[in-house]
Symmetry: C2
Subunit: 299 residues, 2 copies
Amino acid sequence: MTLPQQLRTNALLTEARLRQLLSETVADAPPRLAEAMRYAVLGSGKRFRPFLVIESAGLFGLAPEAALQVAAAVELVHCYSLVHDDLPAMDDDELRRGRPTVHIAFDEATAILAGDALLTFAFEVLAHPDAHPEAIVRCELALGLARAAGPSGMAGGQQLDLDAERLPRLDAQDLDRVRDIQERKTGALIAFSAKAGAILAAAPPDERRALAEFGRLLGAAFQVADDLLDAEGAAAAVGKATGKDAAAGKATYVSVLGVEGARERLCRLQNEAISMLERFGGRAGMLRQAVRYVSTRTS
Amino acid sequence: MTLPQQLRTNALLTEARLRQLLSETVADAPPRLAEAMRYAVLGSGKRFRPFLVIESAGLFGLAPEAALQVAAAVELVHCYSLVHDDLPAMDDDELRRGRPTVHIAFDEATAILAGDALLTFAFEVLAHPDAHPEAIVRCELALGLARAAGPSGMAGGQQLDLDAERLPRLDAQDLDRVRDIQERKTGALIAFSAKAGAILAAAPPDERRALAEFGRLLGAAFQVADDLLDAEGAAAAVGKATGKDAAAGKATYVSVLGVEGARERLCRLQNEAISMLERFGGRAGMLRQAVRYVSTRTS
């Protein structure tokens, strides 16, 4: 199977599981809240993080079915973060994946609550026996996801990103800061997604570390590619306003390194990420392709 | 020990554990975010939910130390909900426990992120081995907390509460709706707190059910008392604006039942709650006092 086919297959499996979880388990939620949660999660998105969960689990011989609950939980957290990041008090975006953002389609209070509910629901999904038969594995997954998404991870990255807007324009000496922001904001959840398969398979520590480091490098490459896309891409292709980060004075790799410097950095990160997969041999073919994919995607 | 003494002791223990968790584990978070989280959690609050966790665990012979991590996790969730409920797009409150709310003391984006981070951190605290040596118990606690706080629980209750403001004034026929809102918004987390001790002690199903039902009734009594306090209390005593719920057209027991009807309901709920404690005999003396306490507190 080619990477686009595999991405599509995994996305369909993830979508089906998310749809099932959001209809069955949330059946008792207020209709407006349930509707906003489904709007935020279903029907769009590349499901790149679920892809990583499923493929990393596949390295250890686990079938997609064994990883789907965890893949869904990670995507719920990703979607919550998008809903809250889009809020007027945050990035103030009215368009996401070519559709009105949740606070536009519903209202601000509902968007805040839908994000809160999606985040909370992700931990219900992870703590449920459907995630893995062993409770110790479920706890390790919940601990890992909480750390990746919490104050030292994704939420912290968003805070630093907002703080950076208030600071004077960045120069090359701020590279460490840009990297710190992006490793938290985007990298932490991608790194957890790549590591999740090793946790699900109870893999030995060195293999977990290799996958976590792979995920960290892939997440960084993903962010550099995203910054390049924002600086160069066409609005129609990505379905959201472009050049917006630069206009907002946001800390990006392009603003610090320039376009050529960012391209070089992307290439190096991709090579380093691929080197982390060596020990997995031919089984890691799809993940290798995924590394290349981050610099070729147009949305 | 009297109830006020026990409340104070448990509150001090909880405060110390929260302070430790928020300084050690969140040491790597951005300073502004960590500061907002500490501001939202430390230094005030009655710690009524932690009291219930510690006392319900005590029914089964567990020392406070064995329940503190769970008590802290529940309080983190409670504090996150206050931060988000106070936001301009939600209840738009500028004062909480006599101090400026988080979005006033910091800013709106930081308040949203601090709430998100506290909620996420609660699950890190619960999934950590410090919460309980057995992973299956930690998973059950995480599952229970997620359900109590999530779309069918607390977040759903807040959504229904906001929806109710848009509806015409309530009358007696809306009692079921008021009860549904309050059982989710306040009751679910209080019920989980009371049940948590039984989960921590791996108590048999009938004792878990009795404590969960006790918690549900106590939570309802708590809310009726809160509505009476809001309708009758003095602003200075409760440290927040009073009569505000009525002004906002919010669904409350007093608006539906009147003051006398609400008082009668409170009394009945208290008696029913106490009857759930019968099987625990003299060990439940402190929880019995707590039931009476909800109608005598002035803040």
